[in-house]
Symmetry: C2
DNA sequence: CGTCATCTTGAGGAGTGTCAATAACTGTGG
DNA sequence: CCACAGTTATTGACACTCCTCAAGATGACG
C-alpha cells in the first residue's frame, strides 16, 4: 500500500522517469520543480482513470502498473488503442489539439500509480521551456510513428504475424527475458489490442511454434529470434533489441548464474 | 508553368498557408521571415519527392497539388499511409524523432508545388519561437489523432463503411460540393489508402447507393448525408461539416445560380 | 471441491483477397 | 475525327482468413 501525505495524495517516486523522457536535458532542479506540479494517485485493478467523453482536465504519466486505453466506437465495439506502462504518458495529444473532452477511456489493468498534472501546466511549461517543448515534440512524434507503423501492420500482416510481433515488442518494452516470461496481462486484452478476436489469437499460438515462439498458458518463450524475424516486421527491429538483451542476459548469467529478471513485479 | 527566380527555384505564393497552420498567431513579418527560409520546388505527375531509406534533410509543406505517402513493407507490399494536399506538412514527425532517414516515400500524384525547409530550420525555429512550437505540437497531435482514428476504423468498419467515410472526408477536406464532384485521383490510390484491393473498393460502390452515395466513373454524389451517417463513423462528424457546406452552397446557389466550384483545378 | 473467469477448440459463414477476363477511359499519331 | 495502345476500372469465380456462436477445458481462489 502506498503512503499518503497530508494532501491525501500518494508520495511520488521519481524513479519512473526513465526512457526518453520529457525531462531529458533538464537540470535535476528543474526536473524536481516540474514533478512537484503533479500529484500521484493510485488505482486498483479495473478502476477507471478517465472516461471517453468526460471533460479533459489533466495530463498523465504512468509511474507504475499498466493502463488500457480503449474506445467504444459508434457501432458499439470496444477497441483497445494502447497499453501504457511505466514512463508512458497520456492525453498530451488531446491537450495540444485543444480538445475539452477525453477521446478514450483509461483503466488500470493492475494496481497502478499515475502522476497527474493540470493541463494548463503542460501547456505553459511547453511555452516557457523550449527544451521541454522539444522533448514533448519528440515524444508525440515517436508515438505518432508507432501508431502509423501499427496501422501498416494491421493492413499487411496476418493474425499470427501480428501476434508474434506483439510478443517480441512486449518482451522488449517490459525488459523481459526472451528465454521465458509470463504475460503481464490477459490474452483478451492482447487480442483486443491487436484488433482481433480472442479465439483468433488463441489459434495463432500453435502456428507461432514454427516461428520459434511458444506459448503455454501465460508462459512465453522466444526461442529463435531469427526464425521469428523471417515472418515478422523488419521495421520494428525488435530482433536486434531482443538479441542485445539476450547476450546481455547471457553475460549476466555467466557472472551471477542465479539471477532471474523475469518477474520484475 | 511556374516562374523561376535567379536561384532556379520557383517563386512562392504564400496563399497556401491556410488551415490551422504553423504560422497561426505570428505577425505577418515573422511569417514572411519564416517563409523566406524555404524554397518552392515543382514536381511533375508521378515524380518522387523523397524515397524511403534516403537521408532526411528537409521539412516539407505542400503548396498545391497532391502527394502520396507510401511505404514498401518487408513483405514487399506497398501501403499508402496518407494523401497530402495543399497546406499539409511532411516529415515533421521524423525530424523530431531525430531520424536521419526517410520512413516513407513521397511522390506527386499530380503536378505539385512543395515548399522545402532545411530540417535544422524547423528544429531551431521550434526552439526559438514558442508560438511556433505550440503550433507544431498542435499539428503533430492532430495528425496523430487522425492516424489513431484511422486505425480504429480499419479495425471496426467494413469495406463499404471505410469507402463511405473516405468519400465524405474527401469532400470535406478538398472543399468539394457534396451534390457532385470528381475524384481528384485514381481509385487504385483510394483503395491503397484504405488498405483494401481495388476490386474490393469497386464492389463497395453499388452498396453505397443504399447509403445515399453514388459513384459513376470519377463522379461522386453524396445525396443523403443522414443515411450515410447511419452507416459510417459519428466521430468524424463529417456529416456536420458537409451539411454546413451544403447549406452554404445552397445560399451561394440562390445568389449566383450559375457558379460551380466542382472543378477547382 | 465447487465457482467464476479465462482460455481453448470446433463447425459454419461472411467478407476480402486473388486471379483472370472484359470494359471504359486517356492520350497519341495518323 | 478516328483508330490505336496503354492505363485504369469493373465484373465474375473461387479460396482463404477471420469472425461468430457454442461447447468444453483450464486455471485461480475461496
Amino acid at each position: 500500500m502506498p503512503n499518503k501525505n497530508s494532501d491525501g495524495q500518494d508520495e511520488y517516486d521519481p524513479g519512473f522517469v526513465r526512457k526518453d523522457s520529457l525531462f531529458d536535458g533538464l537540470s535535476e532542479e528543474e526536473k524536481n520543480n516540474f514533478l512537484e506540479s503533479g500529484k500521484v494517485l493510485s488505482f486498483r485493478r479495473g478502476q477507471t482513470v478517465f472516461r471517453q467523453g468526460e471533460p479533459l482536465h489533466s495530463f498523465y504519466m504512468i509511474c507504475s502498473g499498466i493502463v488500457q486505453l480503449s474506445r467504444v466506437t459508434p457501432n458499439g465495439r470496444e477497441v483497445t488503442l494502447d497499453i501504457l506502462i511505466e514512463g508512458d504518458m497520456a492525453c498530451a495529444k488531446e491537450i495540444f489539439e485543444m480538445r475539452d473532452t477525453h477521446m478514450v477511456t483509461a483503466s488500470a489493468v493492475k494496481p497502478t500509480k499515475i502522476m497527474i498534472f493540470p493541463k494548463r501546466w503542460l501547456f505553459e511549461t511547453a511555452q516557457k521551456n523550449s527544451v521541454f517543448a522539444i522533448n514533448l515534440l519528440a515524444a508525440i512524434s515517436r508515438r505518432a510513428q508507432m501508431v502509423e507503423l501499427d496501422a501498416e501492420h494491421q493492413a499487411t500482416m496476418s493474425a499470427p504475424q501480428l501476434a508474434a510481433c506483439f510478443l517480441m515488442h512486449l518482451c522488449n518494452n517490459h525488459g523481459f527475458d526472451p528465454h521465458g516470461f509470463d504475460l503481464p496481462f490477459s490474452k483478451s486484452l492482447i487480442a483486443s489490442r491487436l484488433g482481433m478476436e480472442l479465439e483468433t489469437l488463441s489459434r495463432t499460438f500453435p502456428v507461432l511454434e514454427k516461428y520459434g515462439i511458444s506459448i503455454k498458458g501465460k508462459r512465453v518463450v522466444l526461442r529463435d529470434l531469427d526464425a521469428a524475424d523471417k515472418h515478422v516486421c523488419d521495421n520494428c527491429s525488435v530482433r536486434e533489441s531482443c538479441r542485445a538483451r539476450l547476450s546481455l542476459q547471457r553475460k549476466k548469467d555467466d557472472e551471477k548464474p542465479l539471477q532471474s529478471k523475469t518477474h520484475s513485479d
